[in-house]
Amino acid sequence: MGVSHHGQRALNKFKFVHHALLCGGKSGPPHDMAVIKTKIKEGSKIMLQYSFKRVLWVFPTLIGVLLLLFSLTYFLPGDPATAILGPRATPELIEEINSRLHLDRSMPVRLGYYLKGIAQGDLGTSVWSGHSVSSLMMEALGHTAMLAVTTLAVAAAIGIILGAFGAIRQDTPISGVVTVASLMGVALPDFVAALLLMLVFCVKIPILPAIGAGEGFWDMIVHLILPATALGIGWVGYLARLTHESMVDVLEADYIRTARAFAIPQKSIAYVYALKNAIIPTITVLGLGVGKLLGGAVFVEIIFSRPGLGKLIVDAVYARDFPVLQGGILVATVLFVLANLLADISYGFVNPQIQYD
């Protein structure tokens, strides 16, 4: 659904977030100075209407997603038996597996079987391991979610703190640190960062683990260090700048100056008013980051041999494990759709001046 704007001036104020939204949040941290103000929700009724329409729109989207997904797997050359068994795949076996997966039927028929399965709560079974796709995915999702949450939490914590410090104390070299951090985040996409980190901390000085997710609480934390850093580098700089700029502008606003004039202590001004107002656009942007994170997670998981949704999908492509491939992409896509939904709706809270169609 499109979002129309109402007034160029209002647009400019939300340029930062607006820009991220328009470019789908996919292309990395913009370096813009934005003025973000939040007004009390005037058009809350319009917004509810918009939200409802927006939620309804999810369904035709999912249907279209299924169609595209099935077209892709339909045209994917190769069959699982040959991919897995190699020379040991007898023609009878190939035929047996192919007919079990309905690979010899036309696309609408295959889609029909798949939907029937979903309606019964069955996402299929992995050709490779015989495990149910749903169990494989629950586990994979858990690992990817753990990676994503840790990355965002740490990046957000570091980024917001850095940005806040830089805004409050403009005379410290913090802003220089922030600029360098955001530049590094841009220059090193996740998988390049992952490779370099592995090179330094696993190969040159072998002190951090290079494979797996670990067992036991501390072991898992240690196994998260490098992957989360690789994924999070871009975010730290970005979030720092975001917080910094939004806080600087808010701090200069009239009502803050008034509060200062009344000698309200500096600390409470900063923490109570400014940070609160700066958080909301940050959250919107974080919501958009889901897609970018999943993309980066694919590489990080493969490079560090971590179990997860990305690795699951890529392995399934190589092995032509169609049930897992379809299930994995479907789950990833549904998550993505939901994240977009949340982002779109929450964006409405950020800018009530937007007209909703």
Binding site: G130, H131, I207, A210, G212
Partner: protein
């Protein structure tokens, strides 16, 4: 001022966290042995095991057969059968089973019933085992008494003791377990008589085994084993160095550096693979014998093997690896001879060269081989176009004969028919080789018992391939293992397979 203090505190905290790191990385407990394998298992049902070697290291921890290869050699020794008598006509064998052998997870004692069940189910068409062909000569299994079982064959199974019983499909499964769990579930919850039982299997993550305390044989020294599927050699190397793995492999190029490293021990054996460059004979350009021969003379195999295997492997001259009894020791070694290549091309009417479409899978060794071949072929005026295909697409295209040339490898077992049969058939015969003489030799070889005669048949078959020149044999590869110096890897079979139940920590 306060900000500076806070920053200081944060830095100190981070520093302290760093000191905790060595505790996390590579926790070395002597309780669990971590071994890296190439790929994950696809099932634990021995009747459905597919590739010859991939799952064997794990399966041989879980199961026993009637007989086994003595660890570290190809000699056949008793396993679950204490002794056996072969009938005079060679068509039946009576096995006397060991008493008091227990299955895992409380499934009771192993008896003749389990043997009968394990083998007869291979023939069941409803189960569609990919290994059915191996057992087709079996007629049925007779239970003589609780610990005596008779295998009756329709025709003489010459490979019964050499490659059928000691391998995957020869393993004995618990009838009770298979019947109660069902075939599918049994594949994830194996019940055998081996020294280890399955603890957990997370696909593509790990296979964890736990020592079986009721094992009938010698108790293994190591309590737990974890098999970790790692596809990339370099990841394996890194994990070895960080201490996350006890036993693994390295890329060939790093073999020497591990060999020299006192923290590791290396063990190497020639592998039973055969890499070859195949030419498709069903369409131009390689439908012409002279052009195939020309290509054979254009490629510098020694240089190719050196480049792709970094001096750890030798060149191959025929399809069977040396060490196999029917290896053709006198196979010709073709050296690069551009002049000869060019004259053959002239003879075939292509004096100015021709184009070859070469398909390869996206593997390291094959990529290097392809590059070397391309450079070599160019010297004779042959233009090689390399197309890297993702493995699924590669197999499909190569098997259909869609390309002019391809690089492929198959893995042998001790039975030469295992690998040679494909080129007499329709599937997995990428060169589309159809030769009546070869086919009849292969058919004959399966039924001949006399080792001398077999040898002659298989050598003749190899000679036929050489004459028809549709393959340039490259190498048989090397199988090697790297273990931490505090690990005794145990015994290793001639083809490089390890026997983890013989391993221990020093």
């Amino acid at each position: 001022m306060k900000a500076k203090n806070s920053i200081r505190k944060i830095v100190i905290a981070l520093f302290a966290l760093l000191l905790l790191l060595p505790m996390g990385a590579g926790a070395k407990s002597n309780d669990q042995l971590k071994i890296a394998i190439w790929e994950d298992v696809s099932t634990f049902d021995p009747g459905w095991m597919t590739s010859g070697e991939r799952e064997l290291a794990i399966m041989s921890c879980l199961f026993n057969g009637l007989v086994k290869y003595k660890e570290g050699s190809w000699d056949i020794v008793p396993d679950l059968a204490e002794s056996w008598d072969i009938s005079s006509d060679g068509l039946s064998v009576v096995f006397h089973l060991r008493k008091g052998v227990q299955f895992h997870k409380g499934y009771g004692e192993m008896t003749a019933e389990d043997v009968k069940f394990s083998y007869e189910r291979m023939l069941d068409p409803a189960l569609k085992s990919p290994e059915k062909g191996q057992w087709e000569q079996l007629d049925h299994v007779e239970i003589v008494d609780k610990y005596t079982v008779k295998l009756i064959f329709k025709s003489k199974k010459v490979t019964l003791f050499t490659s059928l019983l000691p391998m995957n499909t020869g393993y004995i499964v618990s009838q009770k377990a298979v019947k109660s769990l069902g075939h599918d579930k049994f594949g994830k919850n194996p019940v055998g008589t081996g020294p280890y039982e399955l603890d957990s299997w997370k696909p593509k993550q790990h296979v964890k085994l736990q020592r079986f305390d009721k094992y009938w044989g010698e108790t293994p020294k190591i309590n737990k084993i974890a098999f970790l599927p790692i596809v990339e050699d370099s990841t394996c190397e890194t994990a070895l160095k960080t201490g996350e793995l006890h036993v693994g492999r390295s890329s060939m190029i790093n073999y020497q550096s591990f060999a020299k490293n006192s923290k590791f021990n290396v063990y190497s054996k020639p592998a039973l693979k055969t890499y070859w460059l195949g030419m498709t004979v069903s369409h131009p350009p390689f439908d012409k014998l002279e052009l195939r021969q020309a290509f054979r003379y254009a490629v510098n195999v020694d240089m190719l093997v050196e480049a792709s295997f970094y001096g750890t492997a030798k060149r191959a001259n025929t399809i069977l690896p040396p060490g196999l009894p029917d290896y053709w020791a006198d196979a010709p070694e073709y050296k690069q001879d551009i002049k000869k290549a060019k004259s053959l091309m002239k003879k075939a009417g292509k004096p100015n060269g021709f184009t070859v479409k070469l398909f390869i899978p996206a593997n390291d060794a094959e990529r290097i081989m392809a590059e070397v071949i391309k450079a070599d072929a160019a010297k004779a005026g042959i233009n090689v176009i390399i197309e890297v295909k993702e493995i699924g697409a590669f197999n499909e295209a190569a098997n259909k004969g869609e390309t002019d040339a391809y690089i492929q490898f198959y893995t042998s077992t001790i039975d030469p028919n295992y690998i040679m049969q494909y080129f007499a058939g329709e599937s997995w015969n990428p060169s589309q080789y159809r030769n009546a003489a070869y086919t009849s030799l292969i058919k004959e070889g399966v039924s001949v018992a006399d080792p001398q005669k077999r040898n002659q048949i298989y050598v003749d078959a190899q000679k036929q391939i050489d004459k028809d020149a549709w393959a340039i044999w490259l190498t048989h590869g090397t199988k090697f293992w790297i273990a931490q110096s505090n690990v005794n890897i145990g015994l290793i079979y001639p083809n490089g397979r390890i026997a983890p139940w013989t391993a221990s920590f020093k």
